[in-house]
């Protein structure tokens, strides 16, 4: 068993990635709340985590669930587009085109997460699979289906 590092280390190393995928999955406004929920849930569960070898995958899985909860709570409404952010880049994270991410937010959960993890967080298929609890092949498929739908949606 790998010893658990101080939670501060987890926060330092992964907060930007978690924020990145959350902005992708729920938009900038929802991301703040989801970020808090994600890290509070992670901190709560942390001492009992049995395997510290893939903390990033673990966090992204939690973030993904929080993003889904967020969409459920909002009744799957697309993200309002009235206040499009003017800043393109903020602390190194590209804020994506709102219309695109609103469409991502309307995808079925697995496809949505695959797209967000791939393009919001630049994860390889194997890590997306790990975060979603499926094989790299299934992750690739979800990504593919998600992208196909997006192209149709945004065409």
């Amino acid at each position: 068993m790998t010893a658990l590092p101080p939670f501060q280390t987890v926060l330092d190393e992964h907060s930007a990635a978690v924020m990145g995928i959350l902005r992708g999955a729920v938009g900038k406004d929802g991301a703040e709340d989801c970020f808090q929920e994600t890290f509070l849930a992670a901190l709560r569960a942390y001492p009992k985590l049995s395997n510290a070898s893939n903390l990033r995958g673990w966090l992204l899985t939690i973030a993904h669930r929080k993003a889904i909860d967020h969409h459920r709570a909002k009744g799957r409404n697309p993200i309002p587009m009235a206040d499009v952010p003017e800043d393109a880049v903020e602390d190194g994270i590209a804020v994506p085109d709102e219309r695109l991410w609103a469409a991502v937010g309307a995808l079925p959960p697995k496809q949505q997460a695959a797209v967000a993890l791939r393009y919001g967080s630049d994860l390889p298929h194997a890590e997306i699979g790990a975060a979603l609890g499926c094989s790299p092949e299934a992750a690739r498929r979800n990504l593919h289906e998600g992208l196909k739908r997006l192209r149709k949606e945004l065409a």
Partner: protein, 193 residues
């Protein structure tokens, strides 16, 4: 300069503390000897790392022995920092801080509690400490209890000397021990009891 994500992270830390999820808060503090690492639990100050000690290693050890729910949270250590500052300025001769003794057990803890009673500006011998802790012959063990003191400075192991007045040892290095005793007015040049 703070970025947007720093503010988000700060809000998370505040909520973690509010919800009782912060088991160990830590921060660094300046001292005349270099940076100190301070760590506290809900019970009190649990660890002080001296400038020559590896803080990375110390934090890993705390995560392992106390709880990995650890966050850098300077505000939680404001009072400790304030009292230490006054102490280094020679304006404080008694720390009034809750302590968490959990990192020491048995005889070691008894020795450290006795050390904690040595008044400012006075010294004791390792032998006296062993006797007060209940075993006069355990001088070596008393010495190693001093050496293992998780809360140096506040629990003043620098006030324990060899019988006869030789300095003995110090986790922060002998020059630091000497300087602390000078600050407290115990040493004027030559070590003696």
């Amino acid at each position: 300069m703070k970025t947007a994500i720093d503010n988000t992270v700060d809000r998370f830390k505040a909520r973690a503390a509010e919800e009782g999820l912060l088991d160990v808060a830590y921060a660094t503090a300046d001292s005349p000897f270099g940076p100190l690492l301070l760590a506290r639990t809900r019970r009190g100050l649990v660890r002080v790392g001296l400038p020559n000690q590896d803080s990375e290693e110390l934090l890993t050890d705390l995560a392992d022995r106390v709880s990995p729910r650890m966050l850098e949270a300077p505000a939680e250590l404001d009072e400790v920092r304030r009292e230490l500052d006054l102490y280094f300025e020679g304006k404080l001769d008694h720390f009034d801080l809750p302590l968490d003794w959990r990192l020491s057990g048995g005889f070691r803890r008894r020795v450290l509690r006795e050390i904690n009673r040595i008044p400012y500006g006075q010294t004791r011998s390792y032998t006296e400490m062993a006797r007060k802790a209940g075993n006069e012959r355990a001088v070596r063990a008393a010495g190693s209890a001093c050496g293992s003191n998780p809360i140096p400075l506040v629990v003043p192991c620098h006030r324990v000397l060899r019988t006869g007045g030789a300095l003995g040892g110090y986790g922060g290095g002998l020059p630091m021990k000497e300087a602390l005793l000078e600050l407290e007015g115990v040493l004027d040049g030559k070590p003696s009891t």
